[in-house]
Amino acid sequence: MNELIFFVNKVLISGTIIGCIYALGAIGVTLVFGILRFANFSHADMMTVGAYIAFIFASLMPGAGALIGLPTGFVVLPLAIICLAAFAIVVDRLFYRPLRERKVRPVMLLVASLGVTLMLHGLVRLFAGTSPRSFFQDEKKDVFRFDVPFELASRDIVISEPQVLLIITSIVCIFALHWFLTHTKLGKAMRAMSDNADLALVSGINTEKIVRATWIIAGSLAAVAGTLLSLDVVLKPDLSFNLLLPIFAAAIVGGIGRPYGAIAGGLLVGFSETLAIFNWSILLRPSAEFLPEWIDIPARMAFVPTEYKIIVPFVILIAVLIWRPTGIFKGQVL
């Protein structure tokens, strides 16, 4: 029984958490691709910048969270969202729009986004240094323990407050995005432009306005993902750069340009990772007494050692590109 609870904690909960982060990141990447036709490599670092913006607000108003009984980092999230959405538009004005106006090929925009990511890298280190920081210096991180009502279960199912907030916020974001894309004029025009940009122009759709809306959404989601991730772990300059590969894997698995695919892809990559690094011998151990003696259950039996878990999205990415390059939801072929 304890083994099963361990599985729930290590695989179900961890997988959901990281899956949500990947999904939020992948939606941003996929929306930008759908509208602007380039793979935005700076998206992961935008998440980091969002987390640092939230950290600045949180340090400016300590105790803001205590008033409502939520972590301060979470309470200031709306401010971080507004700032990062504005920041995304500024970045577009400075770096991407001039290229768009010159009608360059999309690969040029991709290279520009690499430049942006290096710049953000430097900026974060310049202003915040390299040492890790915690949102919970002066605050307690609440942890919920759920007692499992079984006699044999002495362990609890454990989930922290930031994790609960992360899951709830992700679900809210996804439903809000779905509503926006299917029920508002601007959202439908976004889907239209992603479908057929030339026809959108011919229909009189203001494509620059759609581009702006795309950056606002991508920036907002990056702020949410970055901040919530840094509340769960710690805030450091390479918070989300390492997530670039799994996020792109998620976006491509889901079918690039397809927001719902990105959600499915994010969860798929997240769960694959936690399943791959899970130590399966823990689940097998209770069966040891029923097995013949010559079968020895090794102490560690994971598919992939934890420190190599980046292999998982990499393998998924390669497999998808070979066997189904359009992804589950039939997106654009890159």
Binding site: K185, K188, A189, R191, A192, D195, N196, D198, L199, A200, L201, V202, S203, G204, I205, N206
Partner: protein, 233 residues
């Protein structure tokens, strides 16, 4: 004249594709552009809509010079264009396609959508279907209906019947007549030249980027030269 394009010289950067063509129609008229493949028919339509830069010539809409007006602003002036290919939003529903056609409208256009369902009854049943999954004929209806959503003065159609079964060709041609009867000027590029010239008030025969013949549809159909070279005898 509703639309008057004079002495258009245009192309795609290299040698000009159009070498000084003239096109003009009045409100409620149907103008048909015919000619062999590669004659520049699609290019002529694009230059009327402003999708390509003109090296020479002028375009005027109801007397106003629109030569340098970008295409999205021509939509606001009442010109709608249906491209030859990729003329729908495939992953949007039929209704959403129509709504996108009405993007520039800020009024309540639900009655316009109902008008489109009356004009193209199959679209009403398929309103919530994804447009990319419709039959070729129904897609073409979506494409034309999308363009009509702004209530255009001038409708530009590039090969609206290409690849359709004879029943659908008849259906679409009948609809085009109905649209023109409402006072809309319609300029069509047509592969089914004979069928199209039958409904044409004016026909333009293009070849190698030049006007070869310009006359009423009836006269062109009866001209043995035109029949021999462009209408398959």
């Amino acid at each position: 004249m509703l639309i008057k394009a004079s002495n258009i010289v245009a192309g795609y950067g290299g040698e000009p594709v159009l070498n000084g063509i003239d096109l003009s129609i009045d409100s409620g008229q149907i103008g048909v552009i015919v000619g062999p493949n590669g004659a520049g028919k699609s290019t002529a339509l694009k230059s009327v809509f402003g999708l390509i830069q003109l090296t020479q010539g002028t375009v005027s809409l109801a007397g106003d010079d629109v030569t340098h007006v970008p295409p999205d602003q021509r939509v606001s002036l009442g010109i709608s264009y249906v491209p030859q290919e990729m003329n729908i939003f495939p992953s949007l529903t039929v209704r959403e396609n129509l709504e996108m056609g009405a993007f520039i409208r800020n009024d309540d256009f639900s009655s316009v959508i109902d008008n489109m369902y009356d004009l193209f009854p199959p679209l009403k049943q398929k309103a919530t279907a994804v447009a990319g999954q419709l039959s070729g004929g129904q897609r073409q209806m979506v494409a034309i209906a999308r363009a009509l959503m702004i209530g255009p003065r001038l409708l530009l159609l590039d090969e609206p019947t290409v690849g359709l079964s004879p029943a659908f060709v008849y259906e679409i041609i009948e609809r085009i007549k109905a649209i023109a009867a409402r006072g809309v000027g319609v300029l069509i590029v047509e592969q089914n030249a004979r069928r199209a010239l039958e409904i044409a008030d004016i026909g333009f025969v293009l070849a190698a980027g030049k006007n070869l013949y310009t006359d009423s549809g009836e006269n062109l159909l009866n001209d043995p030269e035109v029949a021999k070279s462009f209408l398959g005898g």
